[in-house]
């Protein structure tokens, strides 16, 4: 009779499926995973320490370097926190432009996350299709902001560049193409029998577990947590009639499908913004003052919070950043991966929660 032994299987820190270094220690009994521990600390930047004592003009550029995948939202939340501290108003046109750039960034991030998942379950064809589509999204981000990744688009009281009518028309034409492609990719994902085998009913996290670990973003929404999208509370999104997407399955399939659905939603939001884009200035101006505030925004992975304390010259005296991956990685290790029936599902389940190690370690 074959003897079953308990073994500890390390995954990473350097692993073909990981985008960034992280180590998972899985304790298994045969194929069943009994316990998983996540080891972090391979790419600690100490960026919060670097930010302290610097003027906001420098911290603004540092903030978006916390994460390369969702840099726009780091820029946006930092700037909106500074605006809250200093009571600076944003012109309506700038507020709509912020939403356009933020949604383009969300689309790029969601498509990359789904690429990673497809690559992990070895559906490389769909993975490469998705990367190809992401290029079009990044081209549009570059068209508006002049940069593909670290855009530094938002500043206190407005944005740096206006959206020209010819650029808006080109972007809308590109979005039609992106929408068609994503619709085709979603159909491949939804109907693929091998994808279903690797995704449906795997890595299930219940709503209660999701709440207990304070999971956020698509990970929480895929487990049926209502009102977990902070865009519901953002004034510009509310004006656009934003509604949260929620699924109840709580498995890998649901997490990926929520992201696909949110890409369609982002396209709709951008179209609405272009349609309703008010005339007027893109910069209102204002001075950054002394104060203290904590402000949250909805990043592609969920709730991103900046707690900032400034002095009268706008220097950042203290800053604490809580990124969404902190909550999602913990829930993944202690809820989704626990009791997985095959060690092969560990990587795909971990990737399905879209972990951002750069955000997590800051």
């Amino acid at each position: 009779m074959k003897k079953t032994v308990d073994v500890s299987i390390p995954l990473g820190p350097v692993h073909p499926c990981w985008k960034e270094p992280v180590r998972l220690k899985c304790e298994t009994a045969g194929e069943r995973v009994l316990r998983t521990e996540v080891e972090l600390g391979y790419m600690k930047k100490g960026i919060e320490r670097i930010m302290r004592g610097r003027p906001w003009q420098e911290v603004m550029f540092l903030a978006e370097r916390v994460c390369g995948i969702c840099s726009v939202i780091h820029n946006m939340v930092f700037i909106e926190t500074m605006e809250e501290i200093s009571d600076i108003a944003v012109p309506p046109r700038a507020a709509y432009l912020r939403v356009i750039v933020n949604e383009l960034d969300r689309m790029a991030s969601h498509i990359l996350a789904n690429f990673s998942y497809c690559y992990t379950i070895e559906h490389e064809t769909l993975a490469m299709y998705l990367l190809n589509t992401r290029e079009t999204v990044l081209d549009n981000l570059e068209r508006i902001t002049g940069s593909r990744i670290n855009t530094a688009y938002m500043i206190p009281g407005g944005v740096r560049f206006d959206l020209l009518p010819e650029d808006a028309a080109a972007m809308l034409a590109d979005l039609v193409k992106v929408e068609d492609e994503i619709r085709r990719h979603t159909r491949i994902f939804e109907t693929g029998p091998l994808i279903a085998l690797r995704s449906k009913g795997i890595g299930v996290m219940s709503r209660e577990e999701a709440i207990r670990a304070h999971t956020v973003g698509p990970t929480a929404r895929a487990s049926g947590v209502e009102e977990s999208d902070l865009r519901l509370r953002h004034p510009t999104y509310r004006a656009l009639g934003f509604e949260q997407i929620t699924r109840t399955e709580g498995d890998n399939f649901a997490r990926i499908m929520v992201r696909f659905q949110e890409v369609f939603q982002s396209i709709d939001l951008i179209r609405k913004c272009v349609e309703r884009l008010p005339e007027g200035p893109i910069r209102g101006g204002g001075l950054c003052k002394a104060g203290e505030a904590s402000y949250s925004g909805e990043a592609p992975r969920g709730e991103l919070t900046y707690s900032i304390k400034t002095d009268e010259y706008g220097r950042v005296l203290d800053i604490a950043i809580r990124t969404p991956s902190i909550m999602n990685i913990e829930a993944c290790a202690h809820s989704m991966i626990r009791d997985v029936t095959s060690i092969a599902d560990v990587t795909s389940t971990f990737i399905s929660s879209d972990p951002c190690i750069a955000c997590n370690e800051r």
Binding site: E37, V38, E39, L40, G41, E48, I211, R212, A213, H214, S307, D318, A320, R322, I326, M327, I329, E330, A331, A333, H334, N360
Partner: protein, 130 residues
């Protein structure tokens, strides 16, 4: 046998997580609720929790404040039965259950309610430090 340096001692990294601004606030609040010193609680957390659980400590504590022990059981609420087993897993659920049952029995046996709760909290402290 060659061993990895980072596997030998993670205490410094775990301590760095716990002493960051937001985590420090959470640790102080938990220590106050349990009646422990901050240093002792930090020691327990470093020994028991992995790094991802430590990183998520503040969020779990917040959610615990909001959702734990909302079932109209004043004893469970005062002792933090769900809070310290499911949200911030510092006590084994079976041990916590026995502490809760004993506390309820003490209250039923006509001893003072405050005394019974204080005894229960003392046992929770013992369980956390064990």
């Amino acid at each position: 046998m060659t061993g990895y340096l980072y596997e030998k001692d993670l205490r410094q990294m775990k301590y760095n997580i716990l002493t960051s601004t937001k985590h420090d606030e959470a640790v102080r609040a938990i220590a106050q609720r349990l009646g422990l010193t901050d240093a002792k609680l930090r020691m327990v957390l470093i020994r028991r929790f992995d790094m991802s659980l430590l990183e998520n400590l503040g969020s779990r504590w917040e959610m615990g404040q909001q959702y734990a022990d909302n079932n109209d059981d004043p004893v469970a609420e005062e002792l933090g039965c769900e809070l310290f087993t499911r949200f911030v897993p510092l006590v084994d659920p079976q041990v916590m259950q026995s502490i809760c049952d004993e506390t309820r029995a003490m209250i039923g046996n006509e001893s003072s309610r405050d005394e019974a709760i204080a005894r229960g909290k003392a046992r929770i402290r013992e369980a956390v430090l064990s």
